[in-house]
């Protein structure tokens, strides 16, 4: 059943999430938009434009044969690295909230880490396919699969964006595992990177505070623990069936930027556990159909790429939800398809297009 309908489940899940995203972006942003821009539709209008652009990216990716990415992969790797370098170039890189995460290309501003993420997934799939016969070998198989991805990851970490770099690292390591790298090599790598993580966290004051606040948010409810506590209160107020769409109160003043990273909290408040469960089920739908597509691809490149994309989308969702539920330290990561934000939405939509292309390519034969 799942095997035959994987494409339908995927499309339905994605489109329901995107539609819910438009509604929730409006519900969470109208007050802030009214206060800041005097137009309560300010954010949702832009979000609808992004959605349409994302739909375009989806259609393009759907038509583009995925095998073409194989020959493009080395170039994509270079592009990703260059983009991440550009962030540090004064006048091009754009600082928001103390970290350089944006590139201002004149006509459009975008987050290169979002693009780099997809580029790296493609590159990793390419790399794993090329190394597949030697994959169990430490020097010729494992090492290239670690060293090459480490370059962009390090750049993202230097932005500084620890959350995204860790997410990318996990994603690429999981891909490596699927590609056949020995589990103990990966485990060893994780253990080896712990001291590095510790060093990074302690060297950035705000990161330390976030971790402390995560461990005991109630210790400083007015300061560092503020957001996460407000998120708890949002879920708690929602209960089973929620306070009703648009009726949430926490987004008004208590959860700033609720339309981006904390949109899931407001879903919890306004739509309750029922809405929360529906969102989880939709992501699980993406996960399972994506994994079916990966398993059914006859080419290793298709398998790795499909698995990588699926994991990229669902891992972000998992981490975002875990953060707003207070199970992981706070980090700025959007919820794919739901959060306000152009780059993330377009990349996610394009990814789904690629996934479906892999699925239909199998059907052609």
């Amino acid at each position: 059943m799942l095997k035959r309908n994987a494409d339908r489940i995927l499309i339905v899940s994605v489109f329901l999430l995107v539609a819910l995203g438009v509604v929730m972006v409006y519900s969470t942003s109208f007050m802030v938009a009214l206060e800041r821009y005097g137009d309560k539709y300010f954010f949702v209008k832009k979000h609808i434009v992004y959605t349409l652009m994302g739909f375009g990216a989806f259609l393009v990716a759907l038509k583009l044969p995925y095998r073409a990415y194989r020959s493009l992969a080395p170039a994509l790797f270079v592009v990703a690295v260059v983009l991440l370098f550009l962030i540090f170039v004064p006048g091009v890189g754009h600082k928001v909230g103390g970290a350089r995460r944006w590139i201002d290309a004149g006509f459009i501003r975008f987050q290169p880490s979002e693009v780099a993420k997809l580029g790296m997934v493609v590159f990793m799939a390419y790399l794993l396919e090329r190394k597949k016969d030697r994959i169990q070998d430490f020097y010729t198989g494992f090492l290239p699969c670690v060293v090459l991805p480490a370059i962009p990851i390090a750049l993202v970490m230097a932005e500084p964006d620890l959350g995204t770099s860790v997410t990318m690292a996990i994603l690429l390591m999981v891909m490596a595992f699927i590609g056949g790298v020995k589990a103990r090599y990966i485990g060893g790598l994780v253990v080896a990177s712990l001291p590095l993580m510790y060093a990074v966290i302690t060297s950035f004051d705000y990161m330390t505070r976030r971790i402390v606040a995560f461990l005991d948010p109630w210790k400083d409810p007015g300061g560092a623990g503020f957001q996460i506590i407000q998120s708890f209160l949002a879920f708690g107020s929602g209960g089973l069936s929620g306070v009703g769409l648009g009726e949430g109160r926490l987004k008004l003043f208590y959860l700033p930027e609720a339309h981006t990273d904390f949109i899931f909290s407001i879903i919890g408040e306004e739509l309750g556990l029922i809405g929360v469960t529906a969102v989880i089920v939709l992501y699980a739908g993406i996960l399972l159909s994506g994994m079916v597509i990966a398993r059914n691809s006859r080419e290793p490149f298709g398998t790795y790429l499909a698995a990588g994309i699926t994991l990229m989308l669902t891992l972000q969702a998992l981490i975002n939800m875990a953060v707003v539920l207070g199970m992981l330290p706070p980090k700025g990561l959007p919820l794919p398809f739901l959060s306000y934000g152009g780059t993330s939405l377009m990349v996610s939509m394009a990814s789904v297009g690629i996934l479906l292309n892999i699925y239909t390519a199998e059907g052609d034969r």
Partner: protein, 646 residues
Amino acid sequence: MKEKKEWTKARISIIAAIFVVGFGIIFLRAFQLQIVNKEHLGKKARLQYLKTIKINSKRGAIYDRNLKELAVSIEVPSVYAQPHKIKEPRRVAQRLARVLSTDRHSVLKNIRSSRRFVWVKRQVVLADEKKEELRGLSQAGIGMVKESRRFYPKGELAANLIGFAGIDSEGLEGVELYYDRYLKGSSMLIRTEKDAAGRTLLFEDVSARAEGMDVVLTIDGTIQYIVEKALKKAVEKTEARAGVAIVMDPYTGEILAMANVPSFDPNNFTRYSPSYWRNRAITDAFEPGSITKAFLLAAVIEEGLADRNDIFYCELGRYAVANTVFHDTRKYGWLSLRNIIKYSSNIGAIKLAERLGKERFYGYLRAFGFGSRTGVDLPGEATGLVRSPQRWSAITLDTMAFGQGLSTTAIQLVNAMSAIANGGFLMKPLIVKYIRNHEGQIVKRFDPVVVRRVISEETARRVTNILIGVTEDGGTGVLAGLGMGIKVAGKTGTAQKPDLEKGGYAEGRYIASFLGFVPARKPHLAIIIAIDEPRKGFSGGEVAAPVFKEIAKQALLYLGVFPEDGPTHERVTTVRKKDRNPLPENLAIERQVVPDFRGKTMRGVLDIAMQMGVEVNLRGSGTAVMQTPPPGTPLKKEGAIKVVFR
């Protein structure tokens, strides 16, 4: 190769399974927060809202029946501080103290508080330049928000009835309390905690809040003014403790005036002791005394036990029942029914009560509404007390015949008398005509409510004829008579006050009362006057009846039903457009000089007098032709302005 592929598939399945478990954990965590901890977190969230400041919306107004404002809300700024934003508290306190003319030290103490939000001064009236200066302090954590402040433009007028609202715009007494639900609008919440972005979270936009509704009373401000003036004068003249008066439209049950002495200024209600706030007309039950005879009379006639000319032996002023001897003030022999009432013979009343019997007397008293609340829409109404016959002693029937051994409120009495006046229907007293929202649409209307028919129309007519005798020559209430072709029906009451310490009745302490309606055969007004413990004079006929007369006369003049058969209604309505040239009056009010009343109708004169708070003495009817002192002379505190109408 094939093997390898299977191996990859297996690894994919492992990862998928791990992720599914991850989603499962997310669900369980959400379940924990949303279902298990719902109470706890929901309470926390509510507590967080409670840390907000409640700003009330504009409270609805209270009007009299002619839409004159009795209570209004004006929007005035309240000054607050957010202490954590204040960097130089001393300097800020100094400037604040100067602008608000308050004490610098208390301001400083206030703005050094550890709270995130404190009021510096609430509901202040500020000149524009001072507001400007305060706006200059906004960066320093000082702000203003508009709040609604209650203002009673007519001061003491109907104060005990209207009550008052507190600083948070909540009704505390009277109509303000009873109709608080309608008067108060919605309130808005303002958060005082800082948020992550450190935004200013206070709005000044008041228009977004829904305003309260307006309550339009049945009270006529002018009649209320007439009643208060007359009552106050009488209480002062007789050196009484207190007094109440109610004027009611007997056909509808609408209360046109309800006055209390002592009263208070609701604009400064905190300066008075709470006993001054009380609306005695509603809250105080007292022994009605001989007024009760009017209702005994009605019962006797309704039951067909006697008619106006049937005679009763009054025992020459001494009548022994059980171990008690009852007296009359004069030694009457045989008295007709109408003369028993006219002279208010106690022994005659006892004879009537004996003929009626316990059960029937009790039944009629209850039917007239005694011993139960009238249900008037005002807080704190007393029930009064009418014991059931099983609990009566050997002489209770006899004492109740002249109004001892039961207690009633003024509102019950005037309401019961209205039933005689209107042909037999007990009405529900009404205090509110309608409630309208701030767009002017009527939300709730109060139509007359018939509680029950108590006596037949024929009985009512006969009782009225006998009660007219009370105010005619030789009757106890002759001082209530208006003459000039207008008949008054009524009954005097002179009730001894119970001695609460020694038991029995206190020596020389009375409640003097008069209860009646006018014009007797086509009643417009039912009026009760009750004066508590007068020291100069004691009887109802002496103390209360003249007050009735004064109120009845002026109120009827004002209503244009004087004399009885004149075409006066039209006259008053056609000249009501008195605002053709309103300026001279306003000028007179401003300069505190005697206004020019000439050419005005009686109603116009009373309106102006009410606005200025001066006493006027009215003579004749028609339009004003003469006045002393002449217009333009400075107002004196004492003495009425005489105005002659022709």
